[in-house]
C-alpha cells in the first residue's frame, strides 16, 4: 500500500538555524506531493506543492522543497527558521486514485 514516511518526529532548533525535514513516499507512479503546516490551534494550511516541472518548489514563508524521484523523496527546507515557524509539518501525497495520504508529521519547536 502507498505510504508516506517522515523521519523526524520532533525537531528542536534555535532561531536562525537551517531546517530540513525528510519525507519519503512509496508510490511508484506519478505523484503529486504536498507539505502542509498546522500551527497550534489552527487548521491545516498548504506550504507548497509539486505536480510537475522544476523539482525545486518554493512555497510560502520562505520554505522550499526538492522532489528527487530517484530517492522517492520530497524534503522540506528553510535556510533560517523563526520562532513563528513552530508548528506541526505534514508531508502528503496524492496517488492516481485521488487519495491524499499523510506522513506521521514532524513537530518543529523553534527556541527564541
Amino acid at each position: 500500500a502507498q505510504s508516506v514516511s517522515q523521519h523526524n518526529h520532533h525537531v528542536i532548533l534555535s532561531e536562525a538555524a537551517s531546517l530540513e525535514l525528510g519525507c519519503n513516499y512509496s508510490y511508484g507512479g506519478t505523484v503529486n506531493l504536498f507539505w502542509y503546516v498546522q500551527y497550534p490551534g489552527q487548521h491545516l494550511q498548504l506550504l507548497l506543492k509539486y505536480f510537475s516541472g522544476d523539482p525545486l518548489v518554493k512555497g510560502i514563508k520562505g520554505f522550499e522543497a526538492e522532489f528527487i524521484k530517484s530517492k522517492f523523496s520530497f524534503n522540506l527546507r528553510k535556510p533560517s527558521v523563526q520562532w513563528s515557524d513552530t508548528a506541526e509539518y505534514f508531508c502528503a501525497c496524492y496517488n492516481q486514485g485521488g487519495k491524499l495520504i499523510f506522513g506521521q508529521g514532524t513537530e518543529l519547536s523553534v527556541k527564541p
Binding site: L44, F90, L100, F102
Partner: protein
C-alpha cells in the same frame, strides 16, 4: 481556493450516543474526504465521500460506525455512531479537485466521556 466549513467545532458526548458532523464547501469540488487526527498523531483517512452513492472506506473503518452522506457536490456529513472514549479525536473534512491541493476545514474536536 475553497473554504471548508465544519460544524460543530467541538462537542463533548456521552458514550453510546452518535454525533453528526457537517461539512460545507464554498465552491464545487469533485472530491471530499473525511480524516481523523488522534491526539499527537497524523491524519488518517476514514473515507472518500462520493456524491449520491456510498462512501469508499479505508481499511479499519466501516459504514456502520462512520456513516457518510454526500447529497451534492458541496455538502457532506460524517456520523460517529455508538461512541466510545476511543473515538475522541479531531475529525476533519477535506475537499479538492483532482490533481490540485486539498483544502481543510478547522475540524471538529470530539470528546467522548
Amino acid at each position: 481556493s475553497a473554504v471548508i466549513s465544519q460544524k460543530p467545532s467541538r462537542d463533548i458526548c456521552q458514550r453510546g450516543t452518535s454525533l453528526t458532523i457537517q461539512c460545507q464547501v464554498d465552491s464545487q469540488v469533485t472530491m471530499m474526504f473525511w480524516y481523523r487526527q488522534q491526539p499527537g498523531q497524523s491524519l488518517t483517512l476514514i473515507a472518500t465521500a462520493n456524491q449520491g452513492s456510498e462512501a469508499t472506506y479505508e481499511s479499519g473503518f466501516v459504514i456502520d460506525k462512520f456513516p457518510i452522506s454526500r447529497p451534492n457536490l458541496t455538502f457532506s456529513t460524517l456520523t460517529v455512531s455508538n461512541m466510545s472514549p476511543e473515538d475522541s479525536s479531531i475529525y476533519l473534512c477535506s475537499g479538492g479537485r483532482a490533481n490540485t491541493e486539498a483544502f481543510f476545514g478547522q475540524g471538529t474536536r470530539l470528546t467522548v466521556v
